[in-house]
Symmetry: C2
Subunit: 494 residues, 2 copies
């Protein structure tokens, strides 16, 4: 591991390689034998599990229930909603057969040509179609509404260029799909859920986000409005971290889902959908980590505190580990997750490097002198600083420190974003800032797809969002010179 750590690419030299090294070497995920599909390793999965647990609780507190819908979607369903098919039905895994058989030539197995499906099935890239086809049977009257369902599932989008967590052919996510009697209620739901996402990402992942609307061209296929949370990574690129869509009556019309209102008249149902995915893992890793490895926010760290002995000989090891075990018990009693690493086949320096790489927020070390003095060395991962403190009262001290670290890495990320957010008023300035500094660029936009497209083509920057709280301000579009009422956020992005 110490050797591996040395091999971690320097972040400033090659950010992209640094990211990939980090994901692999910290044991979060790795590529698999299947192109574009990743293996999420136990340490990475433990973080995702924690995210899942917290988000699931937040969904339930806002009145949602979980359900499960089929992995496969009949091909014809994708043609039903015109915009949806344009946006989604391109790069999908297509199931055409349902049986293998022994190769007549004796070389393993082959697809049985006689077992061809009448209609091909698509592995879900998202589930609006199959779910609205199901809701049709669940909804007759206004009394059946709202339906507030969420699903935790795997989905597949056949991406050509993949990166662990950020863009993989298969990924894990949750997708909420709700049905409402009125436009206003559905819009309120879409807003509620983007706020839940923002809360989660800020309070648990310690990553500040900006809530805003997507422009028409960046909107989800089939939505009337897409709300997004946009986070800034340390290389100055934006990462879309979650979206919540107001779908209008598009899917209800495509799948003929009507309800009888209080007056008995039939109306089409209003819809939302919203999702976050294992992509959040990418955001978590990229927002905080450094050249020593991961920096995990304490609230999501699988191991919050690691305890390591420094010793000579078995007798000293035993005595110190016994003291560490006592401290570990005190910490656990406070709900803190701990690991005592008493391995005697690796040096303590190796252990230090390993847990730094893995982003464990706090390290406690007892050596012979500490053992004698009743002290302990306490080191924090975020600042890489350490001090020697009394063993007495360590649990309270660590609990406080974990809160400090959570706050500190959030504050640091906010400060970074502030420094990396630039107002520009000319296209030349725009291009210069984008190339020399990166980050979020606040600029006026006339609201037309023409300007947006030209900027995207020439600079690869896109409109990340029109912030919901953007103040009114008179200005002119960078390209067209036409009037604009507020600034939007441009950035290059993942």
């Amino acid at each position: 591991m110490a050797k591996e750590l040395k091999e971690l690419t320097n972040r400033e030299e090659n950010y992209s390689q640094w990211y990939n090294d980090l994901v692999v070497k910290a044991g979060l995920a790795e590529t698999s034998a299947v192109r574009g599909c990743m293996v999420i390793k136990p340490y990475g999965y433990a973080i995702w599990e924690k995210m899942h647990e917290v988000l699931d609780k937040m969904f339930k507190e806002t009145g949602h229930v979980n359900a499960y819908f089929p992995l496969f979607i009949p091909k014809s369903f994708f043609s039903k909603e015109a915009h949806h098919v344009e946006g989604f039905a391109k790069e999908c895994a297509v199931v055409t057969h349902y049986r293998l058989k022994n190769d007549p030539d004796g070389k393993g197995v082959v697809v049985d040509p006689e077992a061809r499906l009448e209609e091909e099935l698509i592995v879900r890239p998202t589930s609006e179609t199959i779910i609205w086809n199901t809701y049709k049977n669940w909804i007759q009257s206004y009394r059946d509404l709202p339906i507030l369902c969420n699903q935790w599932a795997n989905v597949v989008r056949w991406e050509m260029r993949t990166r662990l967590f950020l863009r993989t052919a298969e990924f894990l996510w949750q997708e909420g799909h709700t049905a409402h009697a009125t436009r206003e209620e559905a819009m309120e739901e879409a807003r509620r859920m983007i706020r839940v996402y923002a809360d989660f990402v800020e309070k648990w992942m310690a990553v500040p986000v900006i809530i805003g609307h997507k422009s028409d061209s960046e909107r989800f296929a089939g939505a009337e409005d897409t709300l997004t949370i946009e986070a800034l990574m340390q290389d100055g690129k934006a990462l879309q971290s979650g979206t919540s869509h107001f779908l209008g009556q598009n899917f209800a019309k495509a799948f003929d889902v009507q309800f009888a209102n209080r007056e008995g008249a039939l109306e089409y149902v209003w819809a939302t959908s919203w999702g976050v995915s294992t992509r959040l893992m990418g955001a978590l890793i990229m927002a905080h980590s450094d050249n020593n490895g991961l920096v995990l926010p304490p609230k999501l760290a699988p191991i919050q505190v690691v305890l390591i002995p420094i010793y000579k000989g078995d007798e000293e090891l035993e005595a110190i580990v016994s003291r560490l075990d006592e401290m570990a018990a005190e910490l656990k009693a406070k709900g803190i997750s701990v690991k005592v690493d008493a391995r005697d086949n690796v040096r303590s320096g190796f252990k230090f490097a390993e847990y730094e790489l893995k982003g464990v927020p706090v390290r406690l070390v007892i050596g012979p002198r500490d053992f004698k003095n009743g002290t302990v060395e306490i080191a924090r991962r975020d600042t890489l600083t350490k001090e020697v403190v009394p063993q007495e009262g360590i649990a309270d001290r660590v609990a406080g420190l974990l809160e400090d670290i959570q706050r500190n890495i959030y504050d640091k990320a906010v400060k970074f974003r502030e420094e990396m957010t630039t107002k520009v008023d000319t296209y030349d300035e725009f291009k210069r800032v984008l190339d020399e500094k990166g980050g979020f660029i606040l600029a006026h936009w006339d609201g037309t797809p023409e300007t947006e497209e030209k900027i995207k083509e020439e600079t690869k920057a896109t409109i990340r969002c029109i912030p919901v709280d953007a103040p009114e301000e008179d200005g002119v579009d960078l390209i067209s010179g036409k009037p604009s009422k507020r600034r939007v956020i441009f950035a290059r992005s993942y």
Copy 2:
């Protein structure tokens, strides 16, 4: 719902239709637009979620961690383990293409013939192959062992005849895959996990099971030993509820996974795999339910107590509901999950029937007289009995009652199984008992596949298991007359 309840098929008339009605009408699951794939509805999913939560905790307490492996498996992987391909590679969903395109004739979308995969991908029917291909990179030395991984996932087996929960093309499950340095350690792991399953099914689902070994012909494809837990349903048929396999070195050899032992010599790794699935939902439903609907064990019931007002007029409704809300708060404080049903658009009789159908273990009702007298009517779902008791101390009473119900439905299932277990010593008796009574039949078997096959062909009964605790007893095989040392369990099964 009261109307729907009337339409619940009588269990004694048509068990199979009763089961299907129950699953659909109680809101557990339904069929979908995709052949053989089900939709797990919120009420059913809430039970599965609880099972997931409890099992996951048990797995972690026995030292396991979760991870996630790809949905797709390259076709060639299935040919690597000879027995595995025989048992599994037949009925699978096969992905052959990765892109759709707009139909040139303008009729929706078609599969793009140019986007054909070089090697077809199989939607995982189980993950031994992809996981052992991954473990190859994780294991070098004895220090890397054991690996104790579990995965919660969806899997697909293209079943021709499907039944909700019991046999569906797609189902949810967990699959543990462990790697060990010695045969004995792997065998102990396989035994440990079948005991975990037995514990869960008996203590949480209130379904008694018999732990035993599968015969050679019923063993998992690629296993050297398959341990099973077998439960008895109310129609006298057996349901295999979970399996744990000792895989020997078969997958290690197929994927060339070796480790350096303490002496530095290379050895193949020993393996186990073990799984339970949404099939457990079928067992839960069929083991306890009756002609009024589901009977859920309190420990897995999404709603443990429903509180219903009986009233005339808004004022009385408000007063009684306010009292019910107080009681609900008392119950919640004890960790009991409750629902107050204050709907004013359905009769209380309708509500009673609805919650009986949904198997809610305890119902509390306050009417005007109870309100005045400080009493409450308490009804239990398992026995359909009720009594009027003081409101005071209701939380303790309900907590005790929930324990009683859990115990009672388990005891009832044990008693049923005892009555339905028959020792037979001749083939004529075997056939008579099977046709007239069903259940578990304890009979001698000479250990040959010939006897087993003949009985299966002629009676559709199979050897469910060779119980691990079967006492030694001299006897003779029903068919061959050859000597046998212990009885095995035969039954017709799901």
